[in-house]
Symmetry: C2
Subunit: 373 residues, 2 copies
Amino acid sequence: MSESRFANRVTRCAELMRTQNIDVILLTRPSNMFYLTGDGRLCAYAMISQSGQVVMGVPKTDVVDVKSSARFDHISGFDDEVGMIHSIGHHFEHFGVKEGVVGLEYTFLTRSMMSMMMHPHAKPEHVNSADCTHIMSELRSVKDEEEIRSIRAAAKVADRGMNAAIVSLQPRMTESQVAAEAEYAMRQAGAEGFWRTYVSSGPRTSIAHGIPTIRKLKKEDLVMIDVHPIVQGYSADICRTMCIGHPTREQQSSHDQYLQAQQAAIAEARAGVTMDQLEQAMHEVLIHAGHQNHIFGPPIHGVGIEFEEAPLPSGHAFFHGEKAPPPLKTNTVIAVGNCGLYIDDFGVRVEDTIVIGKAKADILTKHTREMKM
Amino acid sequence: MSESRFANRVTRCAELMRTQNIDVILLTRPSNMFYLTGDGRLCAYAMISQSGQVVMGVPKTDVVDVKSSARFDHISGFDDEVGMIHSIGHHFEHFGVKEGVVGLEYTFLTRSMMSMMMHPHAKPEHVNSADCTHIMSELRSVKDEEEIRSIRAAAKVADRGMNAAIVSLQPRMTESQVAAEAEYAMRQAGAEGFWRTYVSSGPRTSIAHGIPTIRKLKKEDLVMIDVHPIVQGYSADICRTMCIGHPTREQQSSHDQYLQAQQAAIAEARAGVTMDQLEQAMHEVLIHAGHQNHIFGPPIHGVGIEFEEAPLPSGHAFFHGEKAPPPLKTNTVIAVGNCGLYIDDFGVRVEDTIVIGKAKADILTKHTREMKM
């Protein structure tokens, strides 16, 4: 990745900081650090000044490694948490900031971490905090060509993982073992990692977050599989619902209606359309099919460095301290089909990752959407 | 798991709440909810009153599923985030709490989640918040026999995962592919999941958190593997450092010295000893061997529902808003060997999960500690 790419991002960040009167941004969320510097890791931080200076702090063991991947103006290696806090205070001095506002990630920092960041040793007395989540979301929502190439690569790996899980399906294997097949295939196909894999089966397909258990698959079960590989630091998101055997008529029709609703939303997706409009397009089809009481959860979210990131649907955005998202722009990447259809003893879902274009969307995850195996 | 087990835990929780003047505890951390009710999941909450009443709130899709695994007095299913907040407010009424203190998880709730929990719709006006992290830590630090059986089962699965990763090692495979072998084997062996797998190789063995990359292993590389399966809701923690080929004399001696230090700490581990004393036991051996500048990070932490939980070393505890841990008690489970030895271009680490006994510790993870394959 080119040096200038990160320099440009920092310049745009500094511009937003100036318009919003934020003097320094202090990041600890790995995805935000990765976006601005090329390196995001645990127990580390990055600080950005209004003039576009970037400093990083990492465990002293990591300084050499970070130098090989990150773009910054200055780096500190610290011994422990106390050293980390002191080094942050030191960088305020280095930036010449004695008063004003430090932007912190209110949607990432825990209450106790917030206290540490506001500790008298971590910042000058007259520096107050404000949330900077929306600034980072605004920067990250529209992807550049290199980012889209990475997400496209992740989508290919997601398809591979999905396929491996589906071909493995048979009665008596556990949900966890289905997840194992997807994850193994994704790492073999070049993923450096993945976000949590969801696999649920039978009546568990109707719960909101199907974290795998050791429940054994039974003949005729529905199985819902949702995977999120990470490739070159970027994610993709795909979900499919399969049947081990012959779906009931109700299962098949619910699946077909869900798929029709998802495809209707994707057909509407283009620059200038809002997330709420796409949600409405999905809901219209589902409600028309008699599913008004079976819909749960927002159906659309952004995809990028994290598999679930801004733009978030307006309800979610509010809850997470973000602003409602503006109309979609070209090269925003979203996943469509995140809400489930929850019938009494089963659920169905079909989700794909798409890139917003001027006239239509480009669907990156391509695995077949048939429920029958 | 027996009903009375959770009732007893809630009774002990309510006793601590009374002594510390906390009227209601509001939990959203899945591990804490799991401990007190038998079910912990995302986007859900549990509230406990001083009289030992337990209410839960989950997405409406999950009510049936939660009823099959959790012990509670009342449950609410909500439609969305706004419904969640309102249902919390409703439960304060149900408890008859109009003023006082609500205990929140300051080490888990983000700043923005804290704001939602303190929203006028989520609680009565005259209810203020206090951190309840230390109460949950105190409850969870000493394990009962059933918990130890689960951690023992997780340790066996951890050994299986470690073995699968180690026998797979060969030049040209990626760090991520090594992780794949461990994770696949753990899910096959009965794990319902795992916490993040760390695999680092070559010079990357000297960084603090070795998240796998697609770096390809080379002949003579050191490889550090750290796995954390989840079995019956409980975790284990094991780390080994291997060499693909012949370690240098310095690598071999550093590894032997680290192992000697780790074993010295384990030999000291028994009821009544402090975490700091064990850390000192490790450091003495390492410093005697000339490694005073190569030590980084606290070497010991608790293991249970989470692979890294209370008791935390005192520095870490402070940073995470917890109190320094009291002397170890019988049936506390800890991992020993979490600090690395960071030499210039390589690092070594050996970590095991142990149960504290009256006279000595029981080592649960048993995979051979030899560096040569």
